[in-house]
């Protein structure tokens, strides 16, 4: 599959280099993150169908093959619901998901956004982000920031219930759904607040009693793909910076000849290389890893991406000097995107703690090969203390 992956990567890079450059890109980055004609164009090109099974008219690739397009999306500052429209159709494969929710095939074929209403985007801000609870067959609660909720034709809602966490598919036009568009500081993403008041949870698809495996996969893949996107943002800002260092002259020579600047550029490259190779390794291992291993792997990628991409983008602005602080060069766009994505599904502080706790649980378990959740259960006294760990 590595060949497929390289092929997707190249095709996406070529397309974006040719058709998503200069003025068009700048206009879109100022448009609030939603461009229906661009999303329709990508749907026509088949991007959203890459990881959809062939039985559903998709290309049947695995999610690990499409990581590279998220790298390119970051590198080219692509706007729109790439994450939602690639990931959700591929993972929503429960009986009935595709047959009953026509929005899913529409998202793949026409580019209408899906929205993921997930209170779990960050643990350290759970009070501010909100929560959603399923009681009987009713959904109540709110999430303070949902990507593309105002444009979506389907809300994929993650809710807590008595039997476990569940994934409900909700029509945004359903009674009790309130969507409030918000202004977005991420130039590539539209945001909205979603409130659900007594919404029927089986509005479209009857929900199961426990979708926790699906939820773990949605969150882990979101982390890894966002990490890939952050890698691309770091790469893009590194590339424009190296070019600028060669062109810009002061004291009668290119500023890239000054060692003080050169060393920062070398560090940017080194940090980007480590991040990029970490993401590639995580994608390579994704298919053979156990769910627990993959969860930790994805957290590692996201943690490292959050820290590294922001740092690389900050150096890029510094090396551009005054022009870096303006919107005339791309570096400020890379930086804003990196800042917006940094804490989405956990920044490095939150994820380092989670990874460390997972490693300690595993180590403390009598049988190290067992799932972390089993280990937690067997060490209930320690586990309860971990849950209380202060930030």
């Amino acid at each position: 599959m590595a060949d497929d992956s390289a092929q997707y990567d190249r095709a996406v890079d070529e397309y974006l280099t040719r058709d998503y450059d200069g003025d068009r890109r700048r206009t879109m980055l100022r448009s609030g993150g939603w461009q229906p004609e661009l999303a329709a164009e990508l749907a026509d090109l088949g991007w959203y169908a890459l990881a959809v099974p062939e039985a559903q008219d998709g290309l049947g690739g695995s999610l690990s093959d499409v990581g590279g397009i998220f790298v390119q999306s970051g590198r080219h500052l692509l706007v729109g619901p790439l994450l939602e429209n690639v990931l959700l159709p591929a993972l929503l494969q429960r009986p009935g998901d595709w047959d009953l929710a026509v929005a899913i095939p529409n998202a793949v074929k026409a580019g209408v956004p899906l929205a993921l209403v997930d209170p779990g985007i960050a643990a350290d801000w759970s009070h501010d982000v909100g929560s959603i609870v399923m009681t009987g067959n009713r959904l109540d609660g709110s999430v303070a920031a949902v990507r593309f909720a105002d444009q979506a034709s389907l809300l994929v809602v993650i809710a807590d219930s008595d039997t476990g966490s569940v994934v409900c598919l909700v029509d945004p036009d359903e009674d009790g759904v309130h969507i409030e568009a918000l202004s977005s500081a991420d130039p590539a993403i539209a945001l909205a607040r979603v409130e659900l008041s007594g919404v029927r949870s089986d509005a479209i698809v009857p929900v199961g009693s426990d979708d926790s495996d699906l939820i773990t996969r949605i969150r882990a893949w979101s982390r890894l793909f966002i990490a890939c996107e952050l890698t691309g943002l770091a790469q893009g800002s590194l590339e424009v910076t190296v070019n600028y260092l060669k062109q810009r002259e002061q004291f009668d020579r290119p500023i890239g000849s000054f060692q003080a600047l050169k060393h920062i550029a070398a560090d940017m490259h080194t940090r980007w290389a480590g991040l990029h190779n970490l993401c590639l390794a995580a994608l390579t291992d994704a298919d053979s890893a156990t769910p627990t291993e993959f969860d930790i792997l994805a957290m590692s990628a996201k943690a490292h991406a959050a820290e590294t991409a922001v740092a690389v983008c900050e150096d890029a602005i510094q090396l551009h000097g005054g022009i870096g602080f303006t919107t005339e060069r791309e570096v400020s766009w890379f930086y804003k995107r990196a800042l917006a994505l940094r804490a989405w599904y956990g920044d490095e502080l939150e994820l380092h703690r989670k990874i460390g706790a997972a490693l300690l649980f595993r180590e403390s378990s009598p049988d190290r090969d067992r799932d972390i959740n089993d280990a937690v259960a067997s060490k209930a006294t320690i586990a309860s203390q971990f849950k209380e760990t202060p930030a």
Partner: protein, 392 residues
């Protein structure tokens, strides 16, 4: 060990793993003299079992397998928690250069004894006034009949006081560009006129030495390669074998994290709920180490696939070194930060961690960004040769 040239890596790895599991692994003590003796014996054991010089030619006493077999064994050795053999300078730095540039008789005479640990090698490169600017070295060698007469001083020469041989860089021409006047000599350390003086490092070890050469007579047959061509051999030496060192160090860091995890977890299991007031500090440190090591592992995979296609120095080696140094310093800094004030008490076990061991490893990690070309030199290489920024 029975192997053939195209033995699949995974079979080879399994054989190595089985051998390591069935072999009594030495524990390297902190005391330097005892450690030297134990690890020298360990090198002999490894050599006799056929695990050294894996990628070297059979004439040189090696196994004639590929670089990837060599890397696989380095990795398995570290993973088993076994210490590396004592003669790493010979095995990773000097030996490959002799195998590549040496005469038949040099290879036959020197390499088997280098592999077995019978002869320990040191590396006479740096001088008091030639550190990062290595090519400006001033130790002179003058031709007198069939001999070179060497005078000068070397510094930071690890294990010089224990070594039987020295790979010595000398200036043989002062009239040309500085890189073009350097020769590479293979010197017997028992020759008259050589004095070594150990230097105590901040870890407390006395592994480093100053070495003084006072009209030391070296036979012309001990020249490696041609006169005035030593710089190219040095570049080869410093560049192409770095991968083995990087890979070994990566796995050593993985083993360190795993050991720290074991110690922390044993304390938690033993003391239960009374000892968890500061768990956030521990989990954060562990997560940071683990994440850093994943980046290094990803980088290593890329390096290995690169090395299967090309051999020889590349500016990408410098990226590897910068990343490795950053990660190993992060890992040991994070672990030792968990020692808190009891870092000052070597015999204590704060949070279950062995204070003396981790403090020693942490101090040692600070050398990583200095030896083998400082991080600042590596950044120049990355900026100029990889990113194409103009020379200053």
């Amino acid at each position: 060990m029975t192997t053939d040239d195209d033995q699949p890596i995974e079979d080879f790895r399994a054989t190595a793993r089985a051998w390591l599991a069935a072999t009594e692994l030495p524990v390297a003590p902190l005391d330097l003299d005892t450690r030297f003796a134990v690890l020298r014996q360990w090198q002999k054991t490894l050599y006799e079992a056929g695990w050294l010089g894996i990628a070297w030619s059979k004439e040189a006493g090696g196994q004639g397998l590929s670089h990837l077999h060599q890397l696989a064994f380095v990795e398995e050795l570290a993973r088993a928690g076994a210490p590396p053999p004592i003669g790493l300078i010979g095995l990773e730095v000097v030996g490959p250069s002799i195998d590549r540039y040496g005469t038949d008789s040099q290879r036959r005479e020197l390499l088997p004894r280098l592999l077995s640990g019978e002869e320990i090698w040191c590396q006479g490169f740096s001088e008091p006034d030639a550190g990062s600017d290595l090519a400006s070295l001033r130790t002179r060698a003058v031709v007198a009949g069939d001999e070179f007469v060497v005078s000068g001083q070397k510094v930071w020469t690890s294990w010089a006081h224990k070594a039987q041989r020295c790979a010595l860089l000398v200036r043989t021409d002062t009239t040309v560009r500085k890189q073009a006047g350097i020769s590479y000599l293979l010197v017997d350390m028992s020759t008259e006129g050589i004095t070594t003086r150990p230097i105590e490092q901040m870890t407390g070890d006395q592994e480093f030495c100053e070495v003084f050469f006072d009209e030391v007579r070296v036979p012309r047959s001990n020249l490696l390669g041609n006169v005035n061509e030593g710089w190219a051999i040095t570049s080869h030496t410093l560049g192409s074998e770095r991968a083995a060192a990087t890979l070994r160090r990566r796995v050593e860091c993985e083993v360190a994290l795993s050991d720290a995890l074991t110690e922390l977890s044993a304390r938690l299991v033993a003391t239960g709920a009374s000892d968890v007031q500061d768990l956030g500090r521990r989990t954060t440190a562990l997560g940071r180490c683990y994440t850093a090591l994943r980046a290094l592992e990803g980088q290593t995979r890329q390096t290995i696939s690169r090395l299967t296609d090309e051999v020889g120095p590349s500016p990408l080696d410098s990226v590897d070194k910068l990343l490795l140094n950053d990660v190993e310093q992060t890992v040991f800094a994070e672990i030792t930060r968990l020692l808190g004030p009891l870092r000052a008490v070597p015999d204590s076990r704060p949070l279950g961690l062995r204070s003396d061991r981790w403090a020693h490893e942490h101090l040692f990690s600070r050398a990583a960004s200095i030896y083998g070309g400082s991080s600042q030199i590596q950044r120049n290489i990355v900026a100029e040769r990889l990113l194409g920024l103009p020379r200053g």
